[in-house]
């Protein structure tokens, strides 16, 4: 019988191919070292050592339960209350995974959009403006301007500009998700983490969302978890393949999808398992 330890040792011996982006001349904005995540006694992520390139889209793919969402949620410490995260998360040269870090300030730099659109039960305008108001932005003109630019960047402005005072709960799934993106970029983050943002959306909304993300790449670094292989191939520059709590392969997206070095990766991207 296999114990979890055996599985671990076995996976530790698995072949891996993780490219160091710093070695190929990319500017690194975020990197992790020796990252381990425990839910109670259960270790969900054994090792996630990755470097993320500035102003690029990185896709995290892998089968369910492979640890990619766990990894993503650890990056802006959304796992703080539910899991124990050890190791370093270096953001612009600072380890943000230490108690002394102001986690609220950090999350303003590393924003997040979730799987299910979660607009607040407020008007469209307030969904975007209220977090800014809490941070002391009270000038109405400035707020109006930020709301407008954020909605434009999220490609939602044209559809809602006359309904800013209407409830955000009345938006369709795709619109709501883009409002969540607008809300996230309104606080001017550096990095945007997206956890399967299109999984609850129809194909048309999904493709609009992908266009939006490609536009946003000019200004933000994007890390996206996705189950949709085509999506990863369409929009990302780099792709990391997770399996059983480890990063098994990390390379340019074209490499991962056309010439994967690791057998399991090749099985996964060609649809043979997962």
């Amino acid at each position: 019988m296999l114990t979890s330890n055996d599985v671990r040792n076995e996976s530790a011996m698995q072949e891996r191919h993780v490219t160091q982006l710093s070695a190929v001349g990319e500017e690194i904005i975020l990197s992790t070292r020796n990252l381990h995540v425990f839910y109670g006694q259960h270790e969900a992520l054994f090792e996630g050592d990755l470097e993320f390139a500035n102003h690029k889209i990185t896709a995290l793919i892998g089968p369910s339960g492979s640890g990619k969402s766990t990894f993503l949620r650890s990056l802006n410490r959304m796992n703080d209350r539910i899991a124990t995260v050890t190791g370093e998360i270096m953001y612009r040269g600072v380890d943000v995974n230490q108690p002394a870090i102001d986690v609220y300030e950090m999350r303003r730099r590393v924003g997040m959009v979730f799987q299910r659109p979660n607009p607040f039960a407020k008007s469209i305008y307030d969904n975007i403006a209220f977090a800014l108001q809490l941070r002391g932005v009270t000038d109405r003109h400035q707020l109006d301007e930020i709301v407008e630019t954020s909605l434009k960047q999220a490609a939602l402005w044209e559809q809602v500009k006359d309904d800013l005072n209407k409830s955000a709960l009345a938006l369709s799934g795709g619109q709501a998700q883009r409002l969540c993106i607008a809300r996230a970029i309104a606080v001017k983050p550096d990095i945007l983490l997206l956890d399967e943002p299109a999984s609850a959306l129809d194909p048309v909304s999904t493709s609009q969302l992908e266009d939006t993300l490609l536009d946003l790449k000019q200004k933000y670094t994007i890390i996206i978890v996705t189950h949709n292989m085509q999506q990863a191939a369409r929009i990302s520059d780099y792709t990391a393949f997770f399996n059983a709590g480890r990063v098994l392969e990390y390379d340019t997206t074209s490499q991962i999808f056309t010439n994967p070095q690791v057998k399991i990766t090749s099985d996964y991207v060609s649809g043979n398992f997962g």
Partner: protein, 294 residues
């Protein structure tokens, strides 16, 4: 017997049981309203009670009921809100919160007469508050706190976890998330809970008999200085409420029209509680619309 017949029998039985419950309720409400409504008049609702003569009203008792309800809510709501926020938004599941939850559950199942007698020993006698509105309000707080805490906690629970994540991901602190995202979304359901518990408090008698007292001294409704003994606002005066009044008339009422007054008071009580219930639904819905589609 085939499954179709079985199903029909089951549905028939369930309809029968439900109908029976509705019938009891309607009979009870109907009896109270039919025998009580004819007694209702402006005079009945506003005049003070008479101990020996015909023609007394329930004005003072009615005012006492509302005033006591107001004070009890004033004390219990902030505590219940704080407790519920702590329990649901902050506390981790450990022995301490388990103990608190158990305590709340036990407290909510205490017979109200026990709460009343505790209130008598502690507030009336030990703290020397006497038979007073304040003693009554404290006793009602004990009676109300567990139910209200539970209902607010349930309201917070109905707000999806994704809303909390959304707030935190914007860099809001947990406190900001709770006060700016969660509470506004939960207000309608919290309000509904508050009004429904107000209905329960309004009809409570046993907890008040030994704390707020069974006498209703005449009040001077022109005197709004809370320090004067005849002022309606004075929290140190004894104050018989409507529910206590009903109990008292039926056990020791010696006025000639005791039965009529008791019927009228019951009708007023039932109507007030019905109004509370409908108001809770209406306001909850209105507020939800207002808050979500600004």
């Amino acid at each position: 017997m085939n499954s179709k017949t079985q199903n029909k029998i089951a549905i028939g039985a369930l309809y029968g049981i439900a109908g029976f419950v509705v019938l009891i309720l309607l009979a009870l409400l109907g009896y109270i309203l039919v025998s009580g409504m004819p007694q209702l008049s402006w005079h009945f609702l506003t005049a003070p009670a008479k101990a020996f003569l015909k023609g007394g009203g329930v004005g003072v008792q009615l005012f006492n009921s509302f005033y006591l309800l107001f004070l009890a809510m004033l004390i219990s709501f902030p505590i219940a809100l704080g407790a519920a926020i702590y329990l649901y938004e902050y506390a981790k599941d450990n022995w301490l919160t388990t103990t608190i939850r158990t305590a709340i559950e036990i407290l909510s199942s205490l017979p109200s007469v026990v709460v009343g007698l505790f209130g008598f020993l502690f507030f009336v006698v030990k703290l020397r508050l006497g038979f007073s509105i304040l003693s009554g309000a404290f006793a009602l707080t004990f009676f109300n706190l567990p139910l209200l805490t539970r209902s607010i906690e349930d309201s917070l629970r109905t707000i999806s976890e994704t809303q909390r994540e959304g707030g935190l991901a914007l860099g809001l602190s947990r406190w900001e998330t709770v006060t700016k995202v969660i509470l506004p979304a939960a207000v309608p359901s919290i309000l509904t809970g508050v009004i429904l518990s107000a209905g329960r408090v309004f009809g409570e008698a046993a907890a008040l008999i030994y704390t707020a007292g069974q006498s209703a001294p005449a009040l001077n409704f022109m005197d709004w200085n809370p320090f004067n003994i005849s002022s309606p606002l004075n929290p140190m005066r004894p104050a018989e409420t409507l529910a206590v009044h009903i109990w008292k008339i039926n056990s020791e009422g010696i006025m000639p029209d005791a039965k009529a007054i008791s019927s009228g008071s019951s009708a007023v009580l039932v109507l007030a509680i019905l109004i509370f219930n409908f108001a809770a639904r209406y306001l909850g819905k209105r507020l939800y619309k207002r808050l979500t589609s600004a």
